[in-house]
């Protein structure tokens, strides 16, 4: 593979990463790790296969690794910043009206599917390939993710997925 072939995909990787990771810095870290990994593993890319899907798969793997390391270091948890923001909110019942906050409250596996389909406009089969899961799992995560997002954006109280982090 000519590594130059990766360059045209960077804007879309950034868009997806921004929606996935939240803030710009974390998102570009995710893109940077993805690109470094892609460059170093580019001999593993099969010529003729879908380069974009391959890059998104790498980003998925990097993202999952980051989540794992974050769980190993709970003081760095994303949830904490959400909690801090929540406690600063004077409203007695927390309502989520902003899309980015609502996305951050989705379970990461649902967030990925909602974004690959809704934002990247991948087919269900493409999303399944990128995430290395069956299409049926894509469909169920898509439904659960969209439904949770709908409730969050409709002002549903935040409860279940927020883990209290020390």
């Amino acid at each position: 593979m000519d590594p130059q072939a990766i360059a045209p995909h960077i804007p879309r990787l950034r868009r997806y990463a921004r929606a996935l990771a939240g803030d710009q810095h974390a998102a570009d870290d995710l893109v940077q790790d993805t690109l470094e990994r892609a460059i170093n593993k580019r001999h593993l890319w099969r010529p003729g296969s879908d380069l974009r899907a391959w890059l998104f798969t790498i980003m998925h793997n990097v993202f999952v690794n980051q989540l794992r390391s974050r769980q190993a270091h709970p003081e760095e948890s994303l949830d904490e910043s959400v909690l801090t923001a929540a406690s600063a909110n004077p409203a007695p019942r927390l309502e989520i009206r902003d899309l980015e906050t609502a996305l951050a409250l989705l379970a990461p596996d649902q967030r990925e599917v909602v974004l690959l389909v809704g934002l990247e406009q991948m087919s269900y089969a493409e999303a399944a390939k990128v995430l290395e899961i069956p299409v049926g799992t894509v469909m169920s995560r898509l439904f659960r993710g969209r439904e949770r997002l709908r409730l969050l954006l409709g002002g549903a109280p935040v409860a279940a997925p927020l883990k209290v982090v020390k």
Binding site: P3, Q4, I6, A7, I10, P11, R12, R14, R15, R18, A19, D28, D29, V31, Q32, D33, L35, E36, R37, I39, N40, R42, H43, V62, N65, Q66, S69, R70, E76, L99, E100, V114, L115, V117, G118, L119, Q121, S123, Y124, M139, L142, F143, R146, E147, L149, R150, L153, G154
Partner: protein
């Protein structure tokens, strides 16, 4: 036709054939709750694109473009294989843990060590142009790096110039000079243009696996002297290099 949840999702994403689409439309006409859900999901898709599409038009930050520009350095990683695998494993582990990237000077030392590890064991083709074509070697490398280069004489330290080669680096072409002592022990001097935003530095030392690297930035150029030598010996050679380049 019975309409499933998957059909509703596919309707949201316009991924149904005409017949299935008509069936879903009929279903939604009779089921206002499902119709409201489908409408909300479609609004989500539109909101996601409205919110994040502007990212597509942002200029790509330098640090992401640079990865692409430095792509060839990865080739060395493959070539060097196990010899430097440890270095890379460390690097990636570092990246995955979300720690901040090492400062450029440090990655400079690492690249020098990598290039040393790849080329110094070469028996038949350690260099592209031999020391027997001294003038051609310097003219060629100077032209490609874009700065007038000199190859220090290290005979007093027991090392003779073998020759040099051109390598790709983060900020353009990089020159590598190779030296060898009477026992066949090799040193490499890696010379690149000063990375943007970097100031002159004192000597710094970095141990990259078995390869020790002294590196510094001086005027328009960055230098890294790499070798599998005890640190004091390597420092003595680095000092000699520095003195010759700054008479």
């Amino acid at each position: 036709m019975r309409v499933s949840e998957d059909d509703l999702q596919a309707f949201v994403d316009d991924r149904l054939g005409p017949e299935a689409r008509r069936a879903v439309e009929a279903h939604l006409a009779a089921q206002p709750e499902d119709a409201a859900r489908v409408r909300a999901y479609r609004e989500q898709n539109a909101a996601l694109r409205a919110q994040f599409d502007p990212v597509l038009r942002e200029p790509v930050p330098d640090r992401l473009r640079r990865i692409d520009a430095s792509r060839r350095s990865a080739r060395f990683a493959v070539a060097a294989g196990w010899l430097v695998a440890g270095v890379f494993v460390g690097w990636f582990a570092h990246a995955f843990l979300g720690a901040s990237a090492p400062p450029p000077a440090r990655s400079f030392a690492r690249q020098a060590a990598l290039a040393h590890a790849v080329y110094s064991p070469e028996v038949r083709h350690p260099v592209e142009v031999g020391a027997d074509q001294h003038e051609h070697l310097l003219n060629w490398l100077s032209k490609r790096v874009g700065v007038k280069l000199r190859a220090p004489l290290l005979a007093a330290e027991g090392f003779e110039l073998v020759g040099g080669r051109l390598l790709p680096g983060d900020d353009g072409a990089v020159a590598q000079f190779m030296y060898q002592d009477a026992k066949g022990k090799r040193l490499t001097l890696y010379v690149s243009r000063r990375p943007p935003g970097q100031r002159d530095t004192a000597f710094r030392f970095s141990q990259e696996d078995k390869v020790g690297v002294f590196y510094w930035i001086d005027g328009p150029l960055g230098y890294a002297l790499s070798g599998e030598l005890p640190k004091p010996e390597l420092l003595a050679v680095a000092t000699a290099v520095y003195k010759q380049l700054n008479p």
